[in-house]
Amino acid sequence: MRKSYGDPIAEDLRFVVKSVVGEENFIDMVPNRSNNYCCGGGGGFLQSGYKDQRLAYGKLKDDQIKATGADYCIAGCHNCHAQIHELSEHYGGHYPVVHLWTLICLSLGVLGPREREYLGDDLKEVNVFHPEME
């Protein structure tokens, strides 16, 4: 988020995330804001064919995420989501990686059964909107 829009917009997103998950459930990674590291999904890296190097690049991000001890990682865009999701599998952390829209709709009670692909088992069955749709 910091890359394209800068820290003030990132603060707005922190407000959204805290409102959705509860202030006490939000853990910032370290370093954060403009000192944070790119996950390695950007700049075309995902499609470049240099997979080993891309995963090596992402090790730093995976370590950062694990160090928070958080149960979930929220990704800001599709590109980051794809990369961090792969890091979670590759380095064995197996933490779920979700889009922000998923958590917003879950907190609003309007997340249906087919909109939960990236939720972990702990939330998969929680407050399902129109469960008969499955």
Partner: protein, 243 residues
């Protein structure tokens, strides 16, 4: 760190860095390096291909154009700009990387990035998956109809394409309509509940721009202009980029 000292061959021949300097405001500060290494110490690409941002810049400054323009490292730097942020002299190393990418013969650049750019040039969706405007329109309409029926609370929800005068022009990563269409729905719901007046474009709805990553300036501009022109033609006030 390199195992051996780098040997310089004769006199300085730094044509590449001089060219990039001409392109950038303040020459990208490319000749202001203090060699402190703040860039490299916080760069996740440090060490890949035996390269790091400081080394890359120093090699460019020393005129090692051949090495600079041939190292695959330029495809492993994501141009995230953290190095500029931490640099006391605000040196634009990512632009040096970008222009090194652009110096590669187009057909020798990474096939995946090249293919995604060429897909986007196929039609006016500008989708890296080559999805046509018709297919996009069909999927959006189909998914919307299903959700309106199955979740009656959202019977009035919209997912308009080419809605004139919408406040917001929204783009869409093309993997969602193609491979996981249900993932488009939560965002539609949020926009609906917030009462937002928004639209997709039949042209330029694809949110990703692999031509930019390919460092193909003309194609990058083609993609960007398609989507911006569509937003303008519809009279949209704000462009919402989801990528």
């Amino acid at each position: 760190m390199a195992e051996e000292a780098i040997k310089l061959g004769g006199k300085k021949k730094s044509i590449f860095m001089d060219k990039v300097k001409e392109l950038l405001p303040e020459g990208g500060n490319l000749n202001l390096c203090l060699t402190c290494g703040a860039c490299s110490s916080g760069c996740p690409a440090t060490g890949l291909e035996g390269m790091d941002p400081r080394k890359f810049l120093r090699m460019a400054a020393l005129g090692m154009d051949e090495e600079i323009m041939s190292t695959p490292w330029v495809w492993m730097c994501t141009m995230c700009q953290r190095c500029i942020y931490v640099c006391p002299m605000k040196i634009d190393i990512p632009q040096l990387v970008y222009n090194a990418r652009a110096s590669w013969p187009r057909d020798q650049r990474p096939k995946g990035i090249l293919g995604s750019c060429d897909m986007a040039l196929r039609n006016e969706s500008r989708s890296a998956m080559g999805t046509s405007p018709e297919d996009f329109s069909f999927v959006v309409g189909d998914v919307l109809e299903e959700y309106r029926e199955a979740q009656p609370e959202f019977a009035e929800m919209e997912a308009p394409i080419d809605k004139e005068g919408a406040e917001f022009f929204l783009n869409q990563n093309s993997r969602e309509p193609v491979t996981e269409p249900d993932e488009m729905v939560p965002l539609w719901k949020i926009l609906h509940l917030a009462g937002v007046n928004w639209t997709y474009g039949s042209k330029g709805w694809g949110g990703e721009n692999y031509c930019m990553f390919l460092a193909d300036n003309d194609a990058w501009e083609t993609l960007a202009r398609t989507t911006i022109n569509q937003a303008d033609a519809l009279g949209c006030k704000t462009y919402l980029n989801t990528e």
